[in-house]
């Protein structure tokens, strides 16, 4: 028929878990087909099977009606299948051109024909409106541009079937909008697209059909037009999902964190990326720092928790000066931190779940006796936390953090930080890359913390999240706080104006 891809009864097992269990998936020509499912539902696994990174244990694949065996990415490449991975696969110190030609280089007399390749890339990027400088180094360009390089990589190999694994997880709202346009343009040029995403709005905007996976099984394939967001979410999670947060009005009490005249320099270099910032966070409120990526939010938080030295200013936590203390001392003084880069700063990926849960307090007498760890206590703690925060994994307390899905890694960190019962909870992009169920859970936990009288400091790039969750918004622009807003009194548009720097207000 007119299916370009048919994946039939695909089963793929990892030690301890069936990541795909008799999954069926069919892609029509020139459609955008969304793949939706909770964290760990098996979306990436299914597409990795199609791309030849994993071998299916059972089932078969047809491309354009012919049975095929895809043993490695080269086979997929020969069948004109291309994939943009969840974590980009780019060589950081290569140029854009080098990254694109790697693996399918053209030569003349055995030497690379770099110039011709460069011309070809220029042509492609004009034709598909993927603006990027072919001579720039990857480490010097933005995440959005890196993604365009990944797309160009596929087009350079003449891919007809393009797989996108969570392409919008790390993009700014503007970049997302542009990507959506690019996707539509690609189908007009005859390409067929698989789009993995957690964002229902994106599916609604560009996708024609949607296949839903739950716990490794394919639940159903639906036309997006005839289905509501609520129905999609319900099929995905297996229960009703609450989109509206249940949240009472905040009752802020005394100040927990007082930041004055804080100035921070960038990590390498001399530029002041945080300039003269002043604010207070109070018990019983969720204070949100909003802004477009790269306006100093990251550095501000690094400065607060001690990951970057500060140049000037003071940080008072319950009237105690933190700015000269080490990271551990600050943490022990009452700062809980859910870091932005959960894999680099939140977890030791090759440690087990239970050991990751005690990273912040293995050195206290609760977990060791004369220098020896108390394994029973550690195990008990893990079991208690798994229960309380619904952390799912293939092997319970002894699962490696690396093998867990993003959502569950995040729940692990959230649980660890909340359990320490500190006065201040800093959460940076706590829901990046998570499914709607997990987002709901994490939002509810943050609200509970607020209601228990903690000060919650949230940093988020997502307008939805900012508007729904926060009690007070501070907008950051080019290292300065440019506005203090009440989410109940403004709309997203106005917030957007502040974030873009075209409007300024007073900060108390």
């Amino acid at each position: 028929m007119d299916y370009v891809i048919e994946m039939i009864d695909i089963t793929k097992e990892f030690p301890g878990i069936k990541a795909n269990d008799c999954v069926n998936f069919k892609l029509k020509k020139q459609e955008i087909h969304a793949l939706l499912g909770e964290n760990g539902a098996g979306k990436s696994t299914l597409m990795s099977v199609l791309f030849g990174l994993y071998q299916a244990d059972e089932g078969h694949i047809r491309v354009n009606g012919n049975d095929v065996h895809i043993r490695n990415p080269n086979d997929a490449n020969d069948l004109n299948i291309g994939m943009v991975h969840q974590h980009f696969k780019l060589v950081h110190n290569f140029t854009v051109t080098e990254n694109i030609i790697l693996g399918s280089e053209d030569t003349k007399y055995g030497l690379l024909t770099y110039k011709e390749a460069r011309e070809k890339i220029k042509e492609l990027s004009e034709r598909y409106k993927l603006r990027v400088n072919p001579d720039a180094k990857i480490e010097d360009i933005s995440v959005g541009q890196q993604q365009r390089v990944e797309i160009l990589k596929m087009l350079y190999r003449q891919a007809e079937i393009l797989i996108f694994d969570e392409p919008t997880a790390s993009l700014t709202p503007q970049e997302i909008e542009e990507l959506m346009k690019i996707l539509k343009g690609l189908t007009k040029e005859g390409k067929s697209i698989v789009l993995i995403t957690h964002k229902l709005n994106e599916i609604r905007e560009v996708a024609d059909r949607c296949t839903i996976l739950r716990k490794g099984k394919s639940i159903s394939t639906v036309e997006v037009k005839g289905t509501t967001n609520e129905e999609l979410a319900e099929m995905m999670v297996g229960r009703k999902v609450v989109f509206e947060l249940e949240k009472t009005k905040a009752k802020p009490k005394e100040t927990v964190l007082q930041v004055s005249n804080l100035t921070i320099k960038e990590k390498e270099g001399n530029k002041e990326v945080v300039r003269n910032v002043n604010f207070k966070a109070r018990r019983g409120e969720i204070l949100c720092i909003a802004g477009i990526e790269g306006n100093g939010q990251t550095e501000l938080i690094y400065g607060l928790v001690g990951m970057l030295p500060i140049k000037e200013g003071s940080i008072l936590l319950n009237d105690k000066e933190l700015s000269t203390l080490s990271i551990r001392k600050r943490s022990l003084s009452g700062v809980s931190h859910i870091p932005e880069d959960r894999q680099r700063h939140g977890l030791v990926l090759d440690f087990t779940l239970e050991n990751n849960l005690i990273l912040q307090n293995y050195f206290t007498s609760k977990y060791h006796h004369r220098g020896f760890l108390k394994f029973d206590t550690i195990r008990d703690n893990a079991e208690k936390m798994i229960d309380r925060f619904d952390i799912r994994s293939s092997r319970g307390p002894v699962s490696l953090a690396r093998s867990m899905s993003g959502g569950n890694q995040q729940k692990l960190i959230l649980g660890r930080e909340i359990d320490r019962n500190n006065d201040l909870l800093i959460a940076v992009q706590p829901t990046r890359g998570l499914d709607v169920g997990a987002i709901e859970f994490i939002h509810q936990q943050l609200i509970d913390q607020r209601d228990q009288g903690k000060a919650v400091l949230l940093v988020s790039l997502e307008l939805d999240e900012v508007m729904n969750l926060s009690d007070r918004i501070l907008v950051m622009y080019e290292g300065e706080l440019v506005g203090e807003l009440d989410p109940s009194k403004i709309d997203e548009k106005e917030l957007g104006l502040y974030m873009a720097g075209s409007k300024r207000g007073e900060v108390s």
């Binding site: 990415p73 696969k89 780019l90 060589v91 950081h92 110190n93 080098e98 790697l102 690396r402």
Partner: protein
């Protein structure tokens, strides 16, 4: 002034010799490390190459009447092949068995001198192999008469030096102008990216280690030819020094050559201070001069390793399952 010129003319060939040796071995290691495999076995591989090359040359010399430079060429080739084969042990352990790369390389470093001395003694009754003959090229017609350059590069020169120049040019082209070079560099930086584009990481890394083995083996014979005329189970730390050259050279060929020149300079100054009048007048004890290359190594490493640009994935066994 004339005195100074004479001294330079005297010292320069030595410097060039050491520089050629260091840069050939370091260039080899560059291929290994930029493919993602640390190779601290250079010293051991050099010893094996030197041993096999020296032995072959003695046999050839005793049995056949062929021109000296031809014999040198045979010795260098045998050394290169031996180094390549010997390095396969490291490649197998590091790439196939995913073992710790430092440990498998250290094993080679321990094995090589013991094996060489043991075998040499079993064969000749002496722990050293004597190559005896002087393999330098005294004069090259026309070229040696060029002012300045003639005495520096073309008098008392060695075949191996010209081979080194050739190797550098080829290595540079391979590394930066061929698909193989592009793939090799990507394997050392981000093997997962290369893997997802169908590059065979294992093949590339084997090739990288084998190139470093061949060049280190070649370097071993260069050492015998141009530094000692005899082989007694050691290469005077040139293997480790090459590693320092590689690191100070930031894993880049051209910088590597400049650093090799610096190291060679210090090395020569430390070996022949008595002949250099200006230096003799300083009246420093011998020991200071002897320590110079090593102190210089420490200082240069300390200065240059700050902005270190080691390949990101160097030393990490490749595991396709790791996400």
């Amino acid at each position: 002034m004339i005195e100074l010129m004479n001294q330079l003319n005297f010292a320069f060939p030595y410097i060039i010799r050491a520089m050629a040796l260091l840069s050939v071995v370091a260039l080899g290691a560059l291929f290994s490390e930029r493919s993602g495999v640390v190779n601290i076995a250079l010293e051991g591989i050099m010893i094996m190459g030197a041993f096999a090359g020296a032995w072959t040359m003695i046999i050839v010399m005793n049995n056949f009447a062929i021109p000296r430079q031809w014999n040198a060429f045979i010795g260098l080739s045998v050394g290169a092949v031996t180094g390549l084969i010997f390095s396969l042990f490291h490649a197998f352990a590091a790439i196939h068995m995913k073992s710790n790369q430092i440990i498998s390389a250290t094993a080679l470093n321990f094995f090589a001198p013991a094996f060489a001395i043991f075998t040499a003694r079993a064969v000749t009754g002496d722990r050293a192999l004597n190559v005896r003959l002087d393999y330098s090229i005294r004069n090259i017609p026309i070229l040696s008469d060029i002012p300045i350059l003639g005495p520096w590069f073309f008098t008392n020169a060695y075949l191996s030096t010209f081979i080194a120049v050739f190797i550098f040019i080829v290595a540079y082209i391979v590394l930066y102008k061929t698909p193989f070079g592009l793939r090799l560099r990507s394997c050392g930086e981000n093997p997962h990216a290369a893997d997802s584009l169908g590059v065979n990481i294992y093949k590339i890394r084997y090739a990288g280690v084998m190139i470093s083995g061949a060049l280190a083996g070649l370097g071993g014979v260069m050492f015998v030819l141009s530094f000692s005329t005899r082989f007694d189970g050691a290469v005077a730390g040139f293997g480790f020094l090459s590693l320092a050259v590689l690191i100070s050279g930031q894993w880049k060929p051209i910088r590597l050559i400049l650093i090799a020149f610096l190291f060679a300079l210090f090395r020569v100054v430390s070996e022949i201070p008595d002949e250099l009048i200006g230096i003799r007048n300083l009246n420093l004890p011998q020991e200071i001069w002897r320590m110079l290359p090593f102190i210089a190594t420490l200082v240069i490493l300390a200065i240059t390793s700050k902005g270190s640009a080691a390949p990101r994935a160097v030393g990490e066994p490749f595991d396709a399952g790791k996400r």
